[in-house]
Subunit: 230 residues, 2 copies
């Protein structure tokens, strides 16, 4: 699976959350990062190039800071220009049909405020309806929005977990089963660049992989027993 | 009450609905029409000028075609630039507090599709949550969105009613009582430029005003009687 991360952020170098996310993408991931403000400082979008880029990927991610409950304007401009009738919808163009679409939002306000009675009144799911409706219109599968609330206040431990979660948003198959999660973790452990690890760490890693495999074996056996009982 | 209509439309001269709406605004209305693409062809927004314009009006209307369930990008850019912390929110700036905010949307698809089970899935109220949340954040009173569905298919009679409804959206006080509606109609009839009317039409008009006044008198008397009965 090839993933395209389309970032819209007017001051990306000054954004600690965006810098963190970009650095969290391992080199061996099949992920293309595409920053619109960097690519199009004059807002002159190359429509053919963008459409080709979309066609070459299976999962499309819009990643941006939440400005007035939506994206920065360049990303809206990009949508208005790139999602043409010939390319993306109606009878003639269905280039995006069957692809997956997801949002990665950085949000400056506490998560608890995004609900009825909270200061922001509506949930992220409600506020991002235009993106959901667009994805549906283009025949794309809409993924759960991934929102990063108040990155600036996160502890190192929280940021570490954020990085893992973000990597899954980019590359894990849309399947919420324990088995799919295990599979993803096994892949990451197997694909890791182990050259920089000490001998001790390598042994820890090999044990972790071994123990995951054993757990899966045990779970499968228990499932089989359960199925025979019913 | 002074009303500011901020229009965002990339090809306004080719839009029959936008041309119709602009022509439907009577000259004696205290309405400022402000077309962003015309004012800022290079997207270089004069923030101070826009903030002054907002401060001078009581009701702010965003008028635009619904592109991918939101506004054209220039209007989003305008919001990101103009709604600064100093001017519009947080402790320091509250310039928009107490004003009214409304949307006038032109929509290419049938109204019935904008609901659960319809092809567009969500209602206009749901899809415009970002505008509602923004208005609330800035302390503005949010008016009912006014959506014009499939202008191209409207009959002359429907367009005539649309013009009257639109005029009310721009200038009628936010009060849904019969009395407020009457008051608005009386004002329009009184302020009309009657020079171009024939003598016959003038008599019809005077009779209409007289009959509205008499109706109001009768209604007020009936109300008084009802109040005494309780």
């Amino acid at each position: 699976m090839k993933t395209l991360v389309i970032i819209s952020h007017p001051n990306i170098l000054e954004s600690s959350s965006q810098q963190f996310l970009i650095k969290a993408i391992p080199h061996h991931f099949d992920v293309t990062v595409h920053h619109l403000e960097n690519e199009y400082p004059d807002w002159n979008i190359n429509v053919a190039k963008e459409q080709k880029l979309l066609s070459e990927h299976d999962r499309i991610i819009f990643q941006f800071p939440f400005y007035w409950y939506s994206s920065p304007a360049l990303l809206k401009h990009w949508q208005d220009m790139v999602y043409t009738e010939d390319f993306a919808f109606h009878a003639r163009g269905k280039a995006l049909r069957g692809k997956e679409f997801g949002l990665v939002l950085s949000v400056g306000i506490n998560e608890a405020e995004y609900q009825a009675g909270g200061r922001e009144m509506f949930s992220i799911s409600e506020l991002t309806r235009p993106f959901q409706a667009t994805a549906e219109k283009l025949g794309m599968t809409y993924l759960k929005p991934f929102s990063i609330f108040q990155f600036g206040y996160m502890t190192d431990e929280q940021r570490f977990q954020l990085a893992i979660h973000y990597q899954q948003v980019l590359t894990r198959e849309k399947d919420n089963s324990l088995e799919a999660k295990e599979k993803w973790i096994m892949e990451q452990l197997t694909n890791m660049d182990k050259a920089s690890l000490s001998t001790d760490d390598k042994i820890v890693l090999e044990n972790a992989v071994e123990s995951l495999k054993n757990n899966r074996h045990t779970i499968d056996e228990l499932k089989l027993i359960l199925e025979q009982m019913w």
